[in-house]
């Protein structure tokens, strides 16, 4: 698998994500700076890391979503290339219009940084095929703007089309319908607030995030 990890000024999970991808796929991803206008030839997986791109100026992910590389990401996503946005990456994907809704300030106003329980709602997607539907896993979150909101019609559509990938099992940030991660209509773009790359090896205390990358690798190859 030829992966690419985007890097924006203020990204801070890019290296963790690269390590996770290399551990699972056996191949180091290309690190692609936001000013690039093209992805490396043959890229078949794009990962947008967590962090605080552009210092969260204007809105979290707003500036990054308008950077040159995102046009290439949008084209690739349209061609069916899998795109995974984690935390700030999820915010970038909603700001870029690749996923519906918006991520607002946490309802409790606090930065939330702890492992949270997640229910795998959809185990049929290319990202979640290594999990069992309804399975409960634990993945860490670390965010200030993770409160997922969309209008009722959009939320109903996400639910009825099986596009809610993960749901929090308890209260975390005020997200509508406890949504932690969603998939686009085409099924190849996943945005999620929890950090699977931080639950990859036993030294992390938990390996529940590893199967996301393993399932994806299997789906892509």
């Amino acid at each position: 698998m030829m992966s690419a990890v985007l890097v924006f000024p203020g990204s801070n999970c890019d290296r963790d994500l690269a390590v996770a991808i290399e551990q699972v796929t056996g191949r180091a991803p290309a690190m692609v700076w936001h000013r690039e206008s093209e992805l490396p030839e043959g890229t078949d997986f794009i990962a947008i890391p967590g962090g605080f791109s552009y210092g969260d100026y204007l809105r979290s992910g707003a500036m990054a979503a308008r950077s040159p590389i995102m046009r290439a990401v949008s084209d690739a996503a349209g061609r069916g290339v899998p795109v995974l946005g984690i935390c700030n990456g999820f915010q970038v994907l909603t700001e870029a219009g690749l996923l519906p809704g918006a991520l607002m300030r946490n309802a409790g106003l606090n930065f939330v940084c702890r492992p949270v329980g997640l229910k795998v709602e959809n185990s049929q997607s290319i990202f979640t095929s290594a999990y069992r539907a309804g399975e409960e896993i634990s993945i860490p979150v670390a965010h200030h703007d993770g409160n997922y909101q969309a209008d009722a019609e959009t939320l109903d559509r996400l639910e009825s089309e099986g596009r809610v990938a993960f749901r929090y099992t308890g209260e975390v940030n005020g997200s509508a319908r406890s949504i932690a991660g969603i998939i686009n209509a085409q099924g190849n773009v996943l945005g999620m607030m929890p950090h699977p790359e931080r639950a990859l090896e036993t030294a992390h205390g938990n390996t529940d995030g590893r199967r996301l990358f393993e399932g994806l690798l299997e789906a892509v190859s």
Binding site: R66, R105, A107, N147, Q149, A150, G174
Partner: protein, 79 residues
Amino acid sequence: MKARVFVTLKPGVLDPQGKAIHHALEGLGFGGVTEVRAGKLIELELADGTSDDEIADMCRKLLANTVIENFKIEKLENA
């Protein structure tokens, strides 16, 4: 030419920051406040002749996230 863009949360969208400001005002003894909504003011210095449509386009493409926010443009011709 100057323009001011006011970006506000759409009605019905929960505003945790506004709520916190409200609580802080009550904590300071200001009892007469019934609701607080926080927004943003963005000032633009523009070339003369910039059209309203162009400014609205800036708002839709970047300054506001129209999923959750409304915007209002105020032009200050002689500023």
